[in-house]
């Protein structure tokens, strides 16, 4: 049985018909064509599929699309503004906070929410904040640097 749901994705209302078992990650990628959200482990460990649900980062692979009918979703495609990459995205590029890029959409969504709640995190708070996201390339050092750099960029632009 299919369920008609409406998701407000990156500011636009999207109506879609999905079976109840459709994961939000698959709904975004397959039904809505937003392949920026990556799927790694599909059981909540790697963090690649992290998106913002009503502003809070959640695992889209551990959420059914039908459950979040009517909610607002922000994916990595929605982070950039009209004038280009967001401060968090620019900081990751500047500090080499990514290499292969597979984990990056999850990190960007997680860090965007982290810095909104805590604009000047300590090293420890950054580590705790990104502890649920795995990166196999960078060794994390440059990701931590990127988070601090993003905090600076956000403060400059505030």
């Amino acid at each position: 049985m299919e369920h008609e749901i409406t998701l407000v994705v990156n500011g636009a209302a999207r109506r879609v018909s999905v079976p109840a078992r459709r994961l939000l990650s698959d709904c975004l990628r397959h039904d809505l064509g937003l392949t920026g959200t990556h799927v790694g482990c599909e059981h909540g460990v790697c963090g690649c599929c992290t998106v913002l649900l009503d502003g809070r980062p959640v695992r889209s692979c551990l959420t059914f699309a039908v459950t979040v009918d009517g909610c607002e979703i922000t994916t990595v495609e929605g982070l950039a503004g009209a004038d280009g990459l967001s401060p968090v995205q620019r900081a990751f590029a500047e500090c080499h906070g990514l290499q292969c890029g597979f984990c990056t959409p999850g990190f960007l969504c997680t860090v965007t929410a982290l810095l909104r709640d805590n604009p000047a995190p300590t090293d420890e708070e950054v580590l705790e904040g990104v502890s649920g996201n795995l990166c196999r390339c960078t060794g994390y050092q440059n990701i931590v640097k990127a988070v601090h750099r993003a905090a600076e960029l956000l403060a400059e632009e505030a």
């Binding site: 049985m1 109840a20 078992r21 994961l23 059981h43 909540g44 809070r56 695992r59 459950t67 580590l127």
Partner: protein
């Protein structure tokens, strides 16, 4: 790695949720942070899923002097931010990762009853309870189940098919009482190899008048040990004497790929002393 098909129910109020559960005996979906991985890995294949996320009145945190009542839809992060109970706040920081805690529910963690999970130990050490509701005849019926009866076995709670856990109650710590939660994990945010949660009360002379611990990862359910008399009426800082041995004798650790039983037993000894020391120190400095 996709969930098997199921029939989906999304009731809007408690009555409808309980009637649906009575009828189809389905699995309850709240935060889904334990259930959905099990579905994705096909470890579970329920025919019916009852999604309670839209049920009105199941959220919220109610605080009184005696304790904190947490609704079935209260997310870990929400309770953590509320900061209404020092031991709960400490334990919640150890539950998975911040992103998981945005979605996972406190009551869900209790019902899931993972023997290595933190929140069951908190409920057990505080002697809290869980309120369970079911539909009977033409009306809902509720019962309160104390923690010592709630955890039945590994991944098994007292919630029966057709029932719904609607809230959990965590009693306050009380005056001159401190608490601590210590655990060892392979990686930050993992389930603990072993963990110990302690609550210590001292009198005006800093003598221990009550001390309890609950251990996780070393038995089918949280192992609660009252260690009040173990240290005699000694000063709080001497509490760690033979207490570790007493607790180690009560646990039933097992070997698995993460750690041997003897290593887990060793950890419980170290963590018991550490947790009691930290809880006693907090109690001496005026309580949490």
């Amino acid at each position: 790695m996709k969930p098997p098909p199921f029939e989906y129910h999304a009731p809007r109020d408690l009555g409808a949720a309980l009637q649906t559960l009575a009828e189809v005996r389905g699995k309850v979906l709240a935060g889904g942070q334990s259930l959905i991985p099990m579905l994705n890995m096909r470890l579970a294949a329920p025919e019916h899923l009852v999604d309670i996320n839209r049920v009105a009145g199941l959220g919220g945190v109610e605080r009184t002097e005696a304790g904190v009542r947490v609704g079935a839809l209260t997310r870990h992060s929400e309770l953590e931010r509320a900061g209404v109970h020092p031991l709960l706040t400490k334990a919640l920081k150890l539950v998975a990762h911040p992103v998981i805690r945005n979605r996972g529910t406190v009551v869900g963690s209790l019902v899931h009853a993972d023997p290595a999970a933190e929140l069951p130990a908190v409920l057990a050490v505080l002697d809290g309870s869980v309120r369970i509701a079911r539909w009977e005849g033409s009306s809902p019926v509720e019962r309160d189940v104390p923690a010592r009866e709630f955890f039945v076995g590994p991944m098994e709670s007292a919630v029966q098919p057709g029932e719904l856990a609607v809230s959990a109650y965590f009693p306050s710590l009380g005056p001159r009482t401190g608490a601590a939660f210590e655990e060892v994990t392979r990686r930050h945010g993992d389930y603990a190899l072993a963990g110990v949660c302690a609550v210590v009360t001292v009198n005006e002379d800093a003598h221990v008048t009550a001390a309890r611990v609950a251990c996780i990862g070393v038995g089918p359910v949280p192992v609660v040990v009252d260690v009040t008399d173990a240290g005699g009426q000694s000063a709080a800082h001497e509490l760690d004497g033979d207490v570790a041995q007493l607790v180690q004798d009560r646990i039933e650790p097992e070997d698995d790929i993460h750690a041997s039983a003897s290593y887990r037993r060793h950890l419980v000894g170290v963590l018991t002393k550490r947790a009691l020391r930290n809880a006693a120190r907090e109690a001496e400095t005026g309580g949490a």
